[in-house]
Symmetry: C2
């Protein structure tokens, strides 16, 4: 068995050099387990054997094993060693139904969403609703230090307006990061916004008129649906594969039938499905839209949360003519409270900039300055590595709890990044009813109802995996599973 593991390591990724040795070892074994090279129940090599194979210390080997154990991939059996855990692997959700042009019938959804965010700070609830890492997973102390240092340095963050396009130093640091993802962008291509949500709002204002239709993924993040509704836009819901995302062929067919003003998609780790489009699909999507002169609004807030040493490329990396309005933020990875995002709006750059001035003048200066300080100090990539490992662990653990507690016929997504799971329940389960019962029992989840203007995901729920794994979370997920079981076959009753 050791030999098969060694095969995996024959050509270690270049990036292995950048991460601690024990993490590199753990990652290799995790991959082997996921790919079935190491099957459930199989025994791992002994610590002595691993020391020899890896040419490293016992403590490094033990650290690697501890990480695999805490990820739920292996278990220690007393006096026997480490074994691959039995994984009750549920099938992934089915690809969503053919495209639905849904208009904007969001009645009732906004009240439901308001309930969700109003309860977001209720300490009596277990929070498995909002798709954001919990505050405890984010470096609040380091951010506070950066804010204090930036304030000392500038002394004027309160009084100086950072007019559009925003602080040059921040745009520069962001552009450098984007270049590393394959995007040919400079600081002058970027506009700083109040999170990706404002970026998307500005992009929509720039490329649509009221009554226009925008194509989105199905299921689609409810905030996006609300943003479309706010501007009086209609929705075309394009089917998605749970692993490869938006179906470009189906989109292409739909574009022959419908006038679409823009496509709004999350090509990397979509919310809520967790799908990630292969590079060649992203490339086809961009060139399809470029040829038809239809702008692509790309929402890339989860791309940096890949469960891998390097993140997938955004669709923007394949943009040759400014078709893509690329929207990102630091809200899912670092500092939700700063409200800092950015947009690289391609050929709509000037228009988007004036819209920023017209709708909010500027983005708060202190948060921009603090972010510059934090990014310049370094440590963001180290934080991201830790965060991704934690989220991968959480996603695995929530998935196991689902597998162990939900009724037969349940399907669950297998995201390779992000911080949520999409759970498809037997069709007889009313997810809205489940949401209400879970809430009454102290658990916040997001019902599938709100992820479609056509309400086509009425038997699905989204679990946030942003809370650190704990007994409390485990109990909460299993409780939802039991409640779901009680609702099987009782739809509408």
């Amino acid at each position: 068995m050791a030999s098969s593991v060694e095969q995996q390591t024959a050509s270690p990724a270049a990036s292995e050099a950048q991460i601690p040795r024990y993490q590199a070892i753990a990652r290799r074994f995790a991959q082997a387990i996921r790919e079935g090279t190491l099957a459930p129940g199989e025994k791992l090599p002994s610590v002595r054997r691993l020391r020899a194979d890896e040419g490293t210390s016992a403590s490094t080997v033990l650290q690697a094993l501890a990480q695999l154990e805490s990820s739920g991939l292996i278990e220690a059996r007393p006096r026997s060693g480490y074994f691959v855990r039995a994984r009750t692997s549920l099938p992934v959700p089915r690809p969503s139904a053919p495209g639905v042009e849904a208009g904007t019938p969001l009645d009732g959804v906004s009240a439901l969403v308001a309930d969700l965010y109003h309860s977001a700070s209720d300490p009596s609830l277990v929070h498995l609703g909002a798709a954001t890492p919990a505050p405890s997973l984010l470096p609040s102390a380091a951010l506070a230090r950066a804010l204090a240092a930036a304030t000392r340095r500038s002394g004027s963050g309160g009084v100086e307006l950072a007019y559009p396009p925003g602080l040059r130093s921040l745009r520069r640091l962001v552009a450098q990061r984007l270049v590393a993802t394959g995007c040919a962008l400079g600081e002058d291509d970027l506009l700083v916004t109040a999170g990706a949500t404002e970026a998307i709002q500005l992009a929509l204002l720039a490329v649509t008129n009221r009554g226009d239709t925008v194509a989105v993924e199905s299921p689609c993040y409810y905030g996006t649906l609300l943003a479309l509704e706010a501007l009086g836009l209609r929705v075309l819901e394009v089917p998605c594969h749970p692993e490869t995302g938006m179906d470009v062929d189906e989109l292409s067919r739909r574009l022959d039938l419908h006038r679409v003003a823009a496509v709004l998609a999350v090509p990397v780790f979509s919310n809520p499905l967790g799908s990630s489009m292969p590079d060649e699909a992203k490339e086809r999507l961009v060139s399809l839209l470029s040829a038809r002169r239809i702008p692509l609004i790309e929402d890339d807030v989860y791309g940096d949360l890949a469960f891998a040493p390097s993140r997938p490329r955004p669709a923007k990396a394949f943009d040759r003519d400014g078709t893509v309005l690329y929207c990102g933020s630091f809200s899912k990875t670092l500092a939700p409270g700063f409200r800092i995002g950015f947009v690289a709006a391609g050929r709509f750059k000037e228009r988007v900039e004036v819209l920023k001035f017209a709708t909010s003048i500027a983005t708060a200066t202190p948060a921009q300055q603090a972010l510059v300080q934090f990014l310049a100090d370094g440590g963001y990539d180290r934080h991201l590595r830790t965060l991704r490992a934690r989220l991968e662990q959480n996603v695995a653990r929530v998935g196991e709890a689902v597998a162990g507690s939900f009724p037969a016929g349940t399907r669950v997504s297998r995201p390779r990044g992000g911080c949520f799971l999409w759970v498809e329940l037997p069709p007889s389960v009313d997810a809205l009813k489940l949401h209400r019962r879970a809430h009454d029992a102290g658990v916040a989840i997001a019902p599938g109802h709100i992820f479609s203007a056509a309400h086509v995901h009425a038997s699905c729920i989204r679990f946030s995996c942003g809370e650190p794994w704990s007994e409390r979370v485990d109990v909460a997920v299993r409780l939802v599973g039991r409640l779901a079981g009680q609702l099987v076959g009782r739809k509408g009753r």
Copy 2:
């Protein structure tokens, strides 16, 4: 002469007790000079006489005289005493023309506005363009201390989202201030926004649909016109009196002829005219709109900058049924860089809150926390008193420089608050040309062109009086005056 001044003081305002003695004396004399009780060239009582009349110390009297002198109202003549300065009083601008329905022909305006804000941080220019107090007039050190203290206290401003409606502690402090202006509002009536600009944007989204017409003041702040254009709204420009603001009778007649989705106005110290509606006109405006079920979006960002001990009431104070969506901010009085505003949206409260979530999720937490700290520490009212006195001085000085340098036929506004002057040049002067020549000569001003979708103010300019008065500002205003003189009779050439 002393006796006539004493008459003015027979019933000292109750508020005199709240301000330093010397300011109270200076204010009384300033009023007497403005009302003509003390005429240009008249000699003021001697210091000895004033000491006796006021029953105060020589140093208090000298402080009062120094303030009157720095406001440009009196001058010291060696060995003779203090005299009222000769004031070349120009007439106020003419009331604007009958209402114009202008559609949204803002072509070219957005590029011009972008030029304005791009040059806002150019140190080679004298900045008489943007209607915001200069950073040097704002308490940057105290704000930085508040930000640092709030960060230490909370330790989590970066990671914690302040979901709509925003921090309760901040809403509470704002509500307390609004109650003092005559508005019956509580913390639950308020939503925190990214400045008043976002508040207005949300209000517009809540009460209009693309293609609707919104009635505004003429002239109207260009940012408002851009905001309307961003949402595809049409504009009805209602004539305004330079001192009493929007003509409610004319508005009423227009409402009989046009379908108007909302009225957007700045009843107190309008931008750029500086007009302020009398209470009874505000009351009529609100009841007229209430009866017709047309919402009033009130922009009150300058109300706290009254050149008087207390500020005029906002229109919201006369709202009985939630007709008024009241928008305010701290951007013109304290902390432009914080981007903190608020909206009390009356009967549109729930809708506006969901729109906030849909378009930007939340307002940055650190700035909200810092503002709570600053307001709770006290000192905001003291700062406001100082700021208002400085701005009143600046407005007076810029007005004098205009009177002394602009061509015959020039008219200038006489605002009782705010930080700008509206200058109406002889009709043959092309303000856009003047703007370009002034810019080339190193002075930024705002051309009248951008204050109307119908471009009906093509011979007007707005001077910001937010820069501390200095030789440099004096020279700059007079330079613009000379350039204007060169353009008389040369329109179109």
